[in-house]
Structures are given as structure tokens and as C-alpha cells.
Symmetry: C2
């Protein structure tokens, strides 16, 4: 402690991530650009663009259709000043009613935007990402994005919610399987971790969203909606929590305080969103290995003693 170690030397870092200048009229021929700013194995996102466009997502998306109200990025609690619409009113022009018309095409466009947004938010976080960033990743301008989403916060919320819905869809059906509580918990954990790995970008946004939700102060009108989001999260964690209690009562698990255990358990299961980088070769097997190990760690952490 007395002698200064090597890493104590004067040092400087840059933190923001370099990106290309915004698109204006210079058209990008290839759809995928920006790869030059990423180093080889630094996460070109776990899911390749095309592969992700699964029926599951389409189904989910169609049940999700609409987002109202352009939330404002105001930093004040009191009378929200800023350069956004002063009335604080509904936007997004009641998309639900339009859904019957253009339907599929519009949704497909929305989905593509969500996908790109997820990747941007994953890489730079909410405040670090500009709407231009997302547009640039899509090879278009922000006009397109603002046509579909009322604000940047709306866009983020949409990604956030889609991520949550995918989790529910994957995990909830397993809740009432047969067998002891531990076994069900294990299966659900496995499915949850699989989500983290296969839809990593979205799940990372869910994580960030939770954090923002936890510390975000709200204007009265927005409180309701935020509460609803938080409750949905709570409902999700309860799926696991109840099984944890059951399994402990059965003598299959052994942990101390339930709250602490839940927190650590989830952080554990979610951890791949921070460190997982898919290896190109043998993707499937790679993922399975990681999932298996993470689940094992998490279950052991709860005091599970094996089958």
C-alpha cells in the first residue's frame, strides 16, 4: 500500500465511443455499416439482424402495437420547460386504429427500428445514444424514427417492454409444470438465462431501464405508467420468488434473507448481458455451455445441493 503500484501512474482515458458522422444525404449502399468502429470480438450483438426476425417476435410485436404519448426528456420536476411540445399531450396518433390498414408493413418497419435501437442502447446506454445514432445504424435519417416513435424515451420504452414481454413469454408457461419447486425453478432459470444470451441487446436495455426506473423521479401524469412498468417487473420476479420460497420450505434450497437472495440470484442470471460475447464457430453449443454454467452457479448460490 505504501509503494505506488504500476497502475497508479498518471493515466488518461477517453470514454465515449467513436461513431461516424450522422447521415444526411450521403447514402450508405450496404445496409450494415459502422462495423469499422468495433473491434473484432466486441459484441456485434449476440443476435445477427436477420436471424432475430423470428415469428415469436412478430407475434409479440403485434400484441404490443401501440405506444402513446411522447414522454419528455425534461430534467425538471416542476413545470416542464424545454423545447418539446408544451402541451405535454398525446402523440403517436392512435396507432392502434391504423393497425388494420397498413398492418404488417408498418410493424416490420417498427421492428427494424427497435432492433437497431436495442443495439445502440446496448452499446452506449440511454443518454449516450442519440436518435441520429439509431438512424445511422439503419442507414436512414431520424425522420423515419420520429414517424414511428414520439420521442427518444418512447423508443427506449418500446425496446424495454419488448424485452420484458419476450421474457414473460419464455418463462411464464413453465410456472405450472409438474415436479418439485426446485425443478421448476431450475427450468425457469435456464429459460431466463437463455433469453439473456439470445436476445442480449434487448435484455441489456431492460436492465438499464430498470435502473432508470428505480431512480427516475416522475411528473404526476407519468407516474402511473411508470408504476405499471415496475409492477410488471415485480410480477416477473415474483414468478421466481414464490418458487424460491417453496423450494426452501421443501428443504431443497438454503439461503438467508429472501430479498437479498432474490437480488443476487437475478444479478447472477442476468450477468451474461454484461460479459457474454458469442463465438462465431459453434454458436449453439457455445450458448448452451454458458447457460448451463450460469444456471448451475445461480442454483448453487441459493444453496441447492444437486439433483
Amino acid at each position: 500500500m505504501t509503494c505506488a503500484p504500476p497502475w497508479t501512474r498518471p493515466v488518461a482515458i477517453i470514454l465515449p465511443i467513436p461513431v461516424a458522422p450522422p447521415v444526411t444525404s450521403a447514402v450508405l449502399p450496404e445496409t450494415e455499416k459502422r462495423s469499422e468502429t468495433k473491434s473484432a470480438n466486441v459484441c456485434s450483438s449476440s443476435v445477427s439482424r436477420g436471424a432475430f426476425h423470428s415469428p415469436l417476435v412478430d407475434n409479440l410485436l403485434s400484441s404490443m402495437l401501440t405506444f402513446r404519448l411522447g414522454a419528455r426528456a425534461a430534467r425538471e420536476v416542476t413545470p416542464i420547460r424545454g423545447h418539446r411540445r408544451e402541451e405535454g399531450q398525446v402523440r403517436g396518433t392512435a396507432m392502434a386504429s391504423e393497425a388494420s390498414q397498413t398492418g404488417a408493413a408498418q410493424e416490420s418497419s417498427r421492428l427494424e427500428i427497435l432492433q437497431a435501437a436495442a443495439e445502440c442502447f446496448e452499446q452506449r446506454g440511454f443518454s449516450g445514444t442519440s436518435v441520429d445514432d439509431v438512424a445511422r445504424m439503419l442507414g436512414c435519417t431520424k425522420g423515419r424514427i420520429y414517424h414511428h416513435f414520439g420521442s427518444k424515451a418512447d423508443l427506449f420504452a418500446a425496446v424495454f417492454r419488448l424485452g420484458m414481454e419476450m421474457n414473460f413469454a419464455a418463462v411464464e408457461p413453465l410456472r405450472h409444470t409438474d415436479g418439485p419447486a426446485v425443478a421448476r425453478l431450475r427450468m425457469m432459470a435456464e429459460e431466463h438465462v437463455r433469453q439473456m444470451v439470445t436476445t442480449k441487446s434487448f435484455q441489456r436495455v431492460v436492465w438499464d431501464g430498470m435502473e432508470l426506473l428505480m431512480r427516475g423521479a416522475l411528473t404526476p401524469e407519468q407516474r402511473d405508467e411508470c408504476l405499471r412498468l415496475q409492477q410488471s417487473r415485480k410480477r416477473y420476479s415474483t414468478l421466481f420468488r414464490t418458487l424460491m420460497e417453496e423450494a426452501k420450505a421443501d428443504g431443497d434450497l438454503d439461503y438467508g434473507d429472501l430479498s437479498v437472495a432474490t437480488q443476487v440470484f437475478f444479478t447472477c442470471m442476468n450477468s451474461p448481458v454484461f460479459w457474454y460475447r458469442p463465438r462465431v464457430a459453434d454458436l449453439r453449443n457455445d450458448q448452451d455451455t454458458v447457460i448451463e454454467q450460469v444456471v448451475r452457479f445461480a442454483m448453487n448460490g441459493l444453496g441447492w445441493k444437486g439433483e
Copy 2:
């Protein structure tokens, strides 16, 4: 999946956190302001301002003294344009040499800034925090901050490094204690988690810093310094990693892949920076309980079967 669950309903949220307008000439009488934007138990930071100003930190800080080079917040890899100094040159005016002069006073001021910065970065992240935010928390203007730190990135880096140094100082001495590898690992883990809880703001910044480091692309000049930071992190995790291997060889631990295990193990131990909120009453006991539980979870996760 077919019937839309309640949380599928249209929703809107705001994400950014409201703050008071920047300080200009309106002087704040009390040093601590801004409390009105926080809800009761939402993290008024684990360490109270005064209590944190410990000899340990002072010692660490004096061995740390100097930061060179104003890192730039440029978003381009190629010729860095922007409104910062174009030479990309050294700043911070060789503070090490000045240390003998004003010494203590200057350092105390620096430390106070670091403290406030840690709390701001903890709450809003790097890009979400403005230099004005930090100044406002201190009840001063950004002039003071820019006098001590060349740029926002410099400030962040200083907080980051101080956090890391505290970890090293707490954990490294335990490396060569007597006893089996598992026992030592357990002790180190406990000390690490204690750091997470007692210096939470700083540790949260360390976490964010690691993430930024992982995905940040660099201009050639800055690559070196960044690499150094990363290596210091690596060195830290190696402290644990080697013991993990030893203990596995001893038959005291049982995990699969070392890399995955390390990642999950750390994420686990670090988790309090995300969810821990100190309860005012009986702080000490509260912390100890949390620490004990987290360590237990983490060790169990590695396949530890108890004493």
C-alpha cells in the same frame, strides 16, 4: 401469449432524472441540497459525505496525485474535431511537483470534488451527468472543477481509479495469509463485497468504467493508458482467479469453465452496487448481514460445500 397481459397496455415513461437548474450566482446556504429530488430510500449514497473522508482515502489519494492529459469526449476515431483543445496535449500542469506547496488543501478540494462526482456518476452514469450537475452538488460552479480536472472524462477517470485503488488496498494484503486457498478466497471476497457496500458510489463508477473501457475505441495516443487501466483490472481479478484455481485443485471448489465462473463470481460480488440501499438504523449490522449473504451466495455458486 395469445391474450395480451395487463402490462401490454399502452404506456409511456420518462427516463431522465429531474434535477435543479445549474448554479450561477444563487448561492446555496446548506452544503447538502438536491435531496428533494430523491425519494426516501432511494440511495442517498451508502456513505455520508463527512464519514467517508477517512485517513485511508487521504493516504490513497496522496499516492495518486496526478492525472495528465485532458482526454477528449470526441465521437470520431479519425482527426478528432470538436470544441476541445486541438493539440490533444498535456494539461493538469504537473500537479505532482506542486504537491509539496499547497499540498493538503488542494488535495482536500480534489477529494471533495471526487466524492461529489462519484455520487453524480453513480446516479446518472457518465453521459447522463453534466459537469454542472457535479458543481451543483458541491454548491459551486464548474470553474472550480475544470481547475482541478482537465475534462469530464478526466474527472470520471479519477473517480474510477480511486475506486480501484481502494479495492486493491483492501484486498491485496489478504492474498498471502495462511490457510487453504478457499479460506483466503473467502476472506478476499468478503473484503471485496465490503468495499462494494461501504464505497458504493465509487464502485459503481468502477463498474461503469469497466464497461466503457470494454467497448471504447481509442485513438492511438490514448490506447496505452487505457490498456494500463485494463491491465490493472485484470491484475485485480487475477488475485481471485488464481485462488479459485488452487481451491479447485484442492477439491474445495467445483465449477466448470474458469472464465465463466470468474465472470459470474464477480458480477455476484459486485451486485450490491446495483441494489443495496443502506438502512439508516443499525447501519453496521445491516451491512454485515448483506455482506455475509452475498459472500455465501458467491462461494456456494463456485461449488463450495461449507467449512
